[in-house]
Amino acid sequence: MSTLTISNLNDGTTTVPTTFVTNGSAKAWLNLNGTGTIAIRGSLNTSSVTDEGTGKYTQTYVSNMSNDDYSVSTSAGSDRGYIETVKVNRYNQFEPIYTNGMQVVTYSSSSSYYDTHFVLLQSFGDLA
C-alpha cells in the first residue's frame, strides 16, 4: 500500500485540513436485523453484536474509542407495511459508557421493548 501524505485538501475554492475528513468520519457503523436470529447486514469496526433480550443489543468495536466522550447516532425501523414508530436509545442511562462498544434498546410506540428489523448505529469520535 502506498501512502499519500497531505495536510490540506483544496477543491479549487476552499481549503480544509485533512483532519476535517479523518475526525469527521464515522469510526464505526452497523446495520443489524434485530428480529429472529439476529444478523448483521453491514458494518465497519465491529467484532460482534450481542442479542441481550427483546429489543436490547450490544455492538462491540474492534478498534476501541479513546474515551467515553464519543458521539453516537442511532435510528431504527420496521419493515411492516404500515407506519410504525420505533425508537432507539442508549441502553441504560445509569450505566457507564464503554469505550469498547455501545448498548442500545429499541422500543415500540407504546414504549415496550421491541425487536425491530433495522437497527442502525453510527459512532463518531477519537479512536484509541
Binding site: 467484532s47 427483546t54 478498534s63
Partner: protein, 137 residues
C-alpha cells in the same frame, strides 16, 4: 516495527475481503445478572473475514492488557503487530475472550453451564418469550 492503525487495516480489509457469515453463535448467561435471559453473541462477518485472512487483528492479549489502561491513555491494541490467520473455531474462542465478560469464561466456578458455542440453526428464530431464554442444562 510500526504498523498501520488497526482501524486503517480494518477499512482496507473491508475493501478487499468478502464478509463471512459464521456457522456458530455463542450462547451465554452473565453471572452478574442472574435474572437476565441468555445472551446470544453473533460474530461480525467482516471481522470474521479478517480473522480468517490474518494480518489484520491484534493479539488477544493486547485487549486484555488494555482493559487496565485508563480512558484517554495510549492503548496497545491499535498498533500491535497483527496476528496470522485463524480457523473459524479459533476465531470464536478469540471473540469470547474479547467480547464476553471475563466472569463467564475465566472466573466462573459454578456448576451450571453458562456458555455454549452452538450452530446457528440451534438458536430459535421464534423470539416468543425471548426474555425467558436460559441455557438447557
Amino acid at each position: 516495527m510500526t504498523h498501520e492503525h488497526l482501524w486503517v487495516r480494518l477499512a482496507e480489509a473491508k475493501a478487499v475481503l468478502e464478509p463471512v457469515q459464521s456457522k456458530y453463535r455463542v450462547l451465554f448467561e452473565d453471572p452478574r445478572e442472574p435474572d437476565a435471559p441468555a445472551k446470544v453473541l453473533c460474530p461480525d462477518p467482516n471481522w470474521l473475514a479478517c480473522a480468517l485472512a490474518g494480518n489484520v487483528l491484534p493479539p488477544i492479549e493486547t485487549y486484555q492488557r488494555d482493559r487496565d489502561v485508563p480512558d484517554g491513555e495510549p492503548k496497545e491494541h491499535p498498533y500491535a503487530e497483527p496476528i496470522g490467520p485463524m480457523t473459524e473455531e479459533e476465531a470464536i474462542e478469540y471473540l469470547i475472550m474479547k467480547d464476553c465478560p471475563v466472569e463467564t469464561w475465566r472466573d466462573y466456578k459454578g456448576n451450571r453451564t453458562i456458555m455454549k458455542i452452538v450452530p446457528v440453526e440451534l438458536i430459535p428464530s421464534d423470539r416468543s418469550f425471548r426474555n425467558a431464554w436460559r441455557i438447557a442444562q
